[in-house]
């Protein structure tokens, strides 16, 4: 069975859980795969650490907990410090590169890809869509899920009236991810 373990980490209010939900939804509902999601919150709803653990597989998943993710998506320095050492050797780090500075503590063989997601979101008009930029970046760099499935998952997961901007944010992140991925291959 081919299984990919993903962890998304950041601060409450950055849309970490929604990012995980969209990835899981894209995999399970629109891409014909299996997915599980576990969400963990900090002691307060906003401003504290929170993370989502997503597992994507081509068969049913018996154990949903992620200990050493193959892919780590981080949106805050604290989440990076906490989760980066847990990355599986040879794994992939996707990080917000204007908030997080990558140091030398990454496990062996980890490939790191950065995106100025907050700036992109602000340029698009709303800082709020930073998590959707990150989701697009994830789709563009990893190629784990089809573009169409993640696009559909974004479209069906965001509130009515916000689809237009969220889809732009997704495309922006996706295109940037494709460029970064091509540059490092």
């Amino acid at each position: 069975m081919h299984k990919t373990e993903i962890r998304v980490g950041g601060l409450g209010g950055q849309g970490v859980i929604l990012c995980g939900i969209i990835i899981g939804k894209a995999a399970s509902i629109f891409d014909g795969k299996h997915a599980t999601l576990i969400q963990a919150f900090g002691p307060e709803a906003r401003g504290s650490a929170c993370s989502a653990q997503v597992t994507v597989a081509d068969e049913a998943i018996g154990y949903p907990y992620v200990k050493n993710p193959d892919i780590l998506i981080v949106m805050s320095p604290d989440a990076y410090t906490q989760f980066a050492p847990q990355l599986a050797p040879g794994g992939m780090l996707l990080y917000e590169n204007e908030l997080i500075k990558v140091d030398g503590t990454l496990p062996k063989g980890v490939r790191a890809f950065g995106v100025p997601a907050t700036r992109f979101a602000e340029e698009l008009g709303r800082r709020l869509v930073l998590n959707i930029v990150m989701t697009g970046f994830f789709a563009g760099v990893t190629g784990l899920l089809s573009y169409e499935s993640v696009e559909q998952a974004v479209k069906t997961s965001v509130p009515k009236g916000t689809e237009d901007l969220n889809l732009r944010a997704f495309r922006k992140g996706y295109e940037y991810g494709r460029e970064q991925s091509a540059g490092k291959s």
Partner: protein
């Protein structure tokens, strides 16, 4: 301010394609020609003398400063409609935007005004405008219907506030659309709220 997602092609009810894009400084002459081609009665409903070259210069400068967002519709190299969003960059109403739409008489009732206004509402929502307002004269039935379709609701009536071309006093209707709730829902969604933290 660079607007993403343009140019766009909009199909009128008869299938004719029209290009919609943000106004550029190079479009100034074409825009002036468009406004000068509007019937005098239409221009009377506008706050500014849009046929004046000085107004145009100021307008283009406001577009450059971000205080005004202007979308134009083009067909055959001519401007056939224009939609403007005015917003204050400082003061107590920076969250409010005022919309104005003008369409060439030959293309009215073809859905062009609605498409332009709809695009402008999307742009406004994206750039942080939370409330949009319009002013329409009571007998601008088409415009009132169009804005109602886009979610605008009457908020106030200024009685006898405008005089039409015949000197008849008419009521001015102020209508608004509150779009702040749209992003409230998104904010709630990304709050990463923990039920157990309550």
């Amino acid at each position: 301010m660079k607007l993403e997602g343009f140019p766009q092609t909009v199909s009128l009810r008869d299938g004719t394609p029209v290009t919609v894009r943000p106004l550029a400084a190079a479009d100034a002459k074409a825009l002036l020609e468009f406004y000068r081609s509007l019937p005098e009665e239409d221009r009377l409903y506008l706050k500014d003398d849009v046929t004046d070259a000085g107004w145009l210069q100021r307008f283009v400068a406001l577009v450059g400063s971000g205080e005004v967002v202007s979308l134009i519709a083009e067909r055959g190299g001519k401007v056939v409609a224009e939609a403007t969003l005015y917003r204050a960059l400082r003061g107590w109403s920076t969250h409010v935007g005022e919309i104005r739409v003008s369409v060439a008489p030959a293309l009215r009732r073809d859905g062009l005004g609605t498409s332009l206004a709809g695009e402008l509402v999307k742009v406004a929502t994206r750039i942080g405008v939370e409330k949009m307002v319009i002013e329409v004269v009571e007998n601008q039935v088409g415009a009132r219907k169009m804005f109602r379709k886009l979610g605008f609701r009457q908020e106030a009536v200024l009685h006898g506030h405008v005089k039409d071309i015949n000197g008849t006093k008419r009521n001015l209707i102020l209508a608004s659309s509150d779009v702040s709730h749209v992003w409230d829902a998104m904010e709630a969604l990304v709050a990463d709220f923990s039920p157990s933290a309550e």
